[in-house]
């Protein structure tokens, strides 16, 4: 049946009034049940403690920069695993007296699980974890919480010490290995140096400088040689063109030359002029004079000949230029030979250097490699030495408990558990349920009771008009009775409330 909210409210109010005894008794019974439940509800105490945890692996700072440490597992999970691990749990079971009855292995497992379920480990901030343990026994809650905290710290310190020791051992071993490597590298280097003296840094540069110098020298000498050869060729040509001796010119020859010259001039003039031309005549006379002169000269020479006197030819003399050239030629040939010898020597030197360089390169590459290995090994070795010393200090600190990063921040305290309902919650819940349960019951009855409780339900269901809705007519006697009844019910409700209040106070004062 469709009902509007105000109709529901009105109907429920009227029904509550109609079934007032039922409502009040339900209220009382619900309250009593809930209060009883509150009283009998097992008490629960929670012990809690906080621990500062710096769970960074000792390897990490020690090996920083040298090696990458594996990621530390989730801190809480780790802490949880340690705390709820078998070793701590067994100690807790022992010390808390759970093992007094000598439980079997499976019973112990059950105890483990129970304690695990009652223990919560929560992170507070970055480095603090909070351990909480719930128990019905106040003292035991405190004891177990304390035990958890102490055993955890102890366990973690032990673990850390062993971590540090392991780290030290590892670094020490590494350092030794590197020391051996370094020694081997040094030895190899020494051997290489002794077998290959040239093999030293910069040899190749020197070699190439020398080669360049030699090549330059060869080039220069070759050029000089060319020059000398050209000079030589030139001198030879000059020597061939020059007579060994020179002939001096005679007077008769000079006359003849003059006659020929004049004759030529005369022939030219005759082509133009007659023989009678003064110029021709003059020329003819000149020619005659000259011929006469020449003849006189010849005669004088011929007259000198019959004396048979070994008379040297006064016109033939040695040529001085020729002599000079011969000398220079000889000099040039000497120069060429010298230069050729010098070039051959330079070439031999170059070859020698090249041969030496071949051996030098192989040795040097090896040297570089060995030197590099040596340097790297030396660096790592030195670094490891530093780290080993730091690890040694860490061990000392651990043994003195100086570096302990596990500390109990808040000592264990015990308080009533938060999650278990408090008595006042029962009281409040009882009151609320005491109201809601009867109202819910009445509402359900309205919906499902086959007996008619709402007038509009009749008209809706039977399609018959409701002629009148007659309320109960209260007679004076009935009204008096109703007043008494209501007073009694109010008294019952008040008594229930008083009971709740009294129990709350008693409980608050810790008397119950």
């Amino acid at each position: 049946m469709q009902m509007y909210p105000e109709q529901i409210v009105k109907a429920v109010i009227n029904e509550s009034f109609h079934s007032r005894w039922l409502v009040v008794w339900m209220f009382v019974i619900v309250n009593i049940v809930v209060l009883t439940a509150g009283l009998l509800w097992p008490k629960s105490y929670t012990g809690s403690t906080s621990i500062v945890v710096d769970e960074k692996s000792i390897m990490e700072p020690l090996m920083k920069g040298a090696a990458v440490a594996t990621e530390t597992a989730d801190r809480n999970r780790n802490a949880r695993e340690v705390i709820l691990g078998r070793s701590i749990m067994r100690k807790v079971l022992e010390s808390a007296g759970w093992l007094a009855d000598h439980p079997t292995a499976s019973e112990q497992e059950g105890l483990f699980e129970k304690i695990k379920a009652r223990t919560t480990i929560t992170p507070v901030g970055r480095d603090v974890i909070k351990i909480e343990y719930r128990d019905s026994d106040e003292n035991r809650a405190l004891f177990v919480t304390k035990a958890f905290a102490n055993l955890f710290v102890q366990e973690m310190i032990t673990q850390k010490e062993s971590d540090t020791r392991a780290a030290f051992d590892f670094i020490d071993k590494q350092a030794q290995e590197y020391q051996q490597k370094l020694t081997a590298a040094e030895e190899e280097l020494r051997q290489l140096r002794s077998s290959n003296l040239d093999a030293r840094p910069g040899s190749d540069i020197e070699l190439s400088a020398r080669l360049i110098a030699l090549n330059t020298r060869i080039e220069n000498t070759t050029m000089e040689l060319r020059e000398a050869e050209m000079k030589h060729a030139s001198l030879e040509r000059q020597v061939n063109g020059e007579a060994e001796v020179t002939v001096l010119a005679t007077r008769e020859a000079q006359f003849r030359a003059r006659i020929a010259e004049l004759q030529a001039k005369l022939d030219t003039l005759r082509l133009t002029f007659l023989d009678t031309h003064p110029d021709i005549v003059q020329l003819k006379h000149q020619i005659q004079d000259l011929r006469a002169e020449a003849a006189a000269q010849r005669e004088r020479r011929d007259s000198a000949k019959p004396s048979d006197r070994a008379e040297g030819d006064e016109t033939v003399v040695n040529n001085p230029v020729y002599q000079q050239l011969r000398r220079e030629l000889s000099q040039s040939r000497l120069t060429i030979d010298t230069l050729k010898a010098r070039i051959a020597e330079a070439r031999r030197l170059v070859q020698e250097e090249v041969n030496r360089g071949k051996g030098l390169h192989g040795g040097e590459a090896r040297l570089v490699e060995l030197t590099r290995d040596y340097q790297i090994n030396r660096e790592i070795y030195q670094d490891l030495l530093h780290r080993r010393e730091r690890a040694r200090v860490s061990i000392n600190m651990d043994s003195d408990r100086q570096s302990s990063s596990f500390k109990i921040l808040d000592p264990a305290v015990v308080s009533p558990s938060r999650n278990t309902p408090r008595f006042w919650q029962f009281v409040l819940g009882g009151l609320m349920l005491g109201v809601l349960v009867p109202l819910g019951f009445l509402f359900t009855r309205l919906q499902f009771d086959p007996r008619v409780r709402l007038a509009n339900a009749i008209s809706e269901r039977h399609k018959v008009q409701v002629a009148a809705i007659v309320p109960h007519l209260w007679s004076p006697v009935e009204l008096t009775g109703l007043r008494k009844e209501l007073a009694i019910l109010a008294l019952v409700v008040t008594a229930t409330l008083a009971l709740s209040a009294t129990l709350s106070v008693v409980r608050f004062l810790g008397l119950l």
Partner: protein, 278 residues
């Protein structure tokens, strides 16, 4: 003599059958509803005669104790409800008197309470009278209203042919309301209603006084035979269902016994309400 009374007297002389009745004669009350002029005009002679016979009327308090409404209980919601029901029936019957059967769906639904209060509501109106007839032979209740329980009732009327109808009609201490109790019952009263005498009785009661509304306090509908016969005798039927007691199945059964043309509707009785929260 007031102007109204003079006018009435003049009108009476013209019609010949009207008379002015002093307010004291109309149940000794001067309540406003009795002073309505129209009602005074139509007030028949019988009503004034009934008033003369009503020597001792019950007070509002006394009626309240008996579970009967009184017009003075203006704050009582039930009074309003019965007035409205009465008006509805009057409208339905178009001013004519009628025989109304009030029958519960099942026993204990409070049909007698409804019947007697409906009768009382009709009697509020000074222009009408009401007759409550107890037809619930197995569980009679009307006799409680009659001061002398030894007076003859319905059973006596059926059993003694010489007994006049007027002898079984008794005043109940409420103005304009008379009642017929069941009387001294014989062993097998079941056949009374099927007799023609019953039909004659109803007809005569209806015909004799035109302003009289006859309310039959009927047996529960679970007694289908009686309920069916009585519904045939009556003009209208009111079916009473009670809060928290009547089931839908019972209502369905009850409704199947009566003709839908006569059914005025269902009266939902005893709806719980906090008395101080009007």
């Amino acid at each position: 003599m007031s102007k109204i009374e003079k006018a009435l007297k003049r009108a009476g002389e013209e019609r010949g059958n009207l008379q002015v009745v002093a307010p004291a004669a109309a149940g000794g009350r001067t309540a406003p509803w009795t002073a309505l002029v129209g009602q005074e005009i139509e007030r028949p002679e019988t009503i004034s005669r009934m008033a003369e016979n009503e020597h001792k009327l019950l007070s509002a308090e006394e009626l309240w104790v008996r579970g009967i409404i009184h017009p003075q209980q203006t704050k009582e919601p039930a009074v309003q409800v019965f007035r409205e029901l009465r008006t509805k029936i009057s409208q339905q019957s178009q001013g004519q008197n009628a025989v109304i059967l009030v029958a519960a769906v099942s026993r204990g639904n409070g049909a007698s309470f409804i019947a007697r209060n409906l009768a009382a509501a009709f009697a509020f109106d000074s222009a009408k009278t009401a007759l409550l007839v107890d037809c619930n032979l197995r569980n009679p209740s009307v006799h409680e209203l009659i001061p002398d329980t030894s007076l003859p009732g319905l059973a006596d009327y059926f059993d003694s042919p010489e007994l006049a109808v007027s002898k079984i009609i008794h005043p109940v201490g409420i103005a304009r309301l008379r009642a017929i109790a069941t009387g001294r019952l014989r062993e097998n009263p079941a056949e009374y209603f099927v007799s023609t005498k019953m039909r004659h009785l109803i007809d005569s009661l209806r015909e004799r006084y035109r302003e009289r509304f006859i309310i039959l306090d009927g047996p529960p509908m679970s007694d289908i035979a009686d309920a069916r016969i009585l519904s045939e005798l009556s003009d209208y039927v009111l079916v009473v269902a009670r809060h928290g007691r009547t089931t839908n199945a019972q209502i369905e059964n009850g409704l199947s016994a009566i003709s839908s043309s006569k059914l005025l509707g269902i009266v939902f009785n005893d709806e719980p309400r906090i008395p101080w929260l009007r």
